[in-house]
Amino acid sequence: MNLASLPVTRNLLPLFVAIPLGSAFLVSLLGKRVKGFSDTFSNVATFSLLSISLLSLLLVKHSGTVVYKVGGWIPPIGICMVLDSLTSFMLITINLIAFLVTIYSISYMERYTAKWKFYTLFLLMLAGMNGVIVTGDMFNLFVFLEIASISSYALVAFGVEHEELEASFKYMVMGILASSFILLGIGFLYSLTSTLNMADMSRTLAKIGDNRTVFFVSVLFLMGFGLKAALVPFHAWLPDAHPSAPAPISAMLSGVLIKALGVYALARIFFNVLGMTATSSSIFMVLGTISMVLGGLLALGQEDIKRLFAYSSISQIGYIVFAVGMGTPLGILAGLFHLFNHAIFKSLLFLNSGSIEYATGTRDLRKMGGLTSKMPVTGYSSLVGSMSISGIPPFSGFWSKLLIILAAIQAKHFVFAAIAVLVSILTLAYYLKVQRLAFFGELRDSLKGIKEVPLTMKLSMIILSIICIFGGLLLIPGVQKNFLSLATEVLVNGTNYAQIILGSIK
């Protein structure tokens, strides 16, 4: 069977955007009338997205980088969509988490009225994220970034309580500021290169060489995308926004959104378009390390379980940015692997906190205790998630953190490696605190009547914890060659990206 000639695979790329977009509007149209329509339709949509992401992996292995010309216009005049291994890797991560979160939402969102509005916004956000990853054009990236951001602003404020509105407002103001910086950067780049296609732009920039404007643009992008990715010092919105959102949204936001919009865009732009220099590499490493340390320290003193997880996200994103910023192949491999792992276990942890909230009605760690006796699935999956994120073997987190530290040592950044090890111990400390306070110990009297959560929520958590346990298998040489190493190569290739893209236009 010749895979590349099936009509589905030939036109695969736009489907990633078209399916969630179409489903969002269909759910909005029919979700109120037909009972249960919004649930089933959204789940069908995310499941089909997951299947075509897996299909895309096969496609990339089969035919190399795929460039799809939208509307038949040849780049650099037209917009093109690019499918290379990095894209495929991110697509699988995002759509997997999205699918599991939609399963979870079937039961969790029963408490909120207007469930169809939730699904509409959720699918729109997913369309935006998929679009960011798939596009090969700079302004298209910005447009999809905005679609995803606006949907996330609305989703954070979904249940209209005091804290949610306040958190959403702060998030919105900072997000709009970040988008303005990004837009300014794109404007400057356009005035320099007269093109918006990423491949063409990198070729033209290579010809121009080093320039003060390029440096200014990279600073603007760092500020803009760094805010979206919650790097220190731009992280201030995250501890307010992530806890206030409903639990499945927190999982999506923390597990996927800050990675797709923030880290992926940074990596794509700095490696493929602007070209990684020694200065940008060190800036990444320094900012990453500061995020690691600050996130970890601030997480220790939190009593709200979701706020603690949010600070932990800042810390782990610091790890990823630090690893990717090193620029060495092992570093990038470690960073991408940690990105995948963190998406899995952070979503698992947030879904856990959601089920705790669903069952007990509180998010305060001081009021919980001994939950494992009544809620075994939640308890054990939370244990798996926490051990994984702290880096205990043989869970997946151990392997990725080990790789990051090894990569740092290999590149002779001994101080950074030492800091990474220390922060890892810190992570272990506060997750042990969560486990002790929430799950083990005596069951309080006020909590005697709680029950385990419904089936769909249990299902997602079990699947996620299984992936956590077996995530380390991704490093086996056979599997690694097909999945992670290809993605790494794309970034390591750097500005050769332009050659590959422009060369495969027929």
């Binding site: 005091h162 103001v173 500021l177």
Partner: protein, 107 residues
């Protein structure tokens, strides 16, 4: 010129205490960025990039930024609408527009 507008906008966002003034500041900053894009597409002695029936094609300004600006204005509109809606809800819940009083989240 654009940078003066942009800095006024940012100053408004960061310093002013009233919610509505923050929103206006965002609007100013956003339009400053749009203006900047128009500037990017300027060519000396260019005309509007529209072809009419009996016109000889002369020197035109770059039409690409104009499409981008149009898209950006629509995005800006959507964002402004959303932020105003949230501001109205905040007023409903907190009863005030002063951001120093809207500080339930700490840490």
């Amino acid at each position: 010129m654009c940078f003066i507008l942009f800095s006024i906008g940012i100053y408004c966002i960061l310093v002013k205490r009233n919610l509505i003034k923050i929103i206006i500041g965002i609007g100013i900053a956003e339009y400053a960025v749009n203006l900047f894009f128009i500037l990017v597409g300027y060519r000396a002695q260019g005309r509007a990039p529209i072809l009419a029936k009996q016109q000889v094609i002369q020197n035109m300004v770059d039409p690409l930024p104009q499409a981008l600006i149009l898209t950006n204005i629509v995005i800006g509109l959507a964002v402004t609408v959303l932020i105003v809606a949230i501001a109205i809800r905040i007023y409903e819940k907190y009863g005030t527009f002063d951001i120093t009083k809207i500080r339930r989240l700490r840490g």
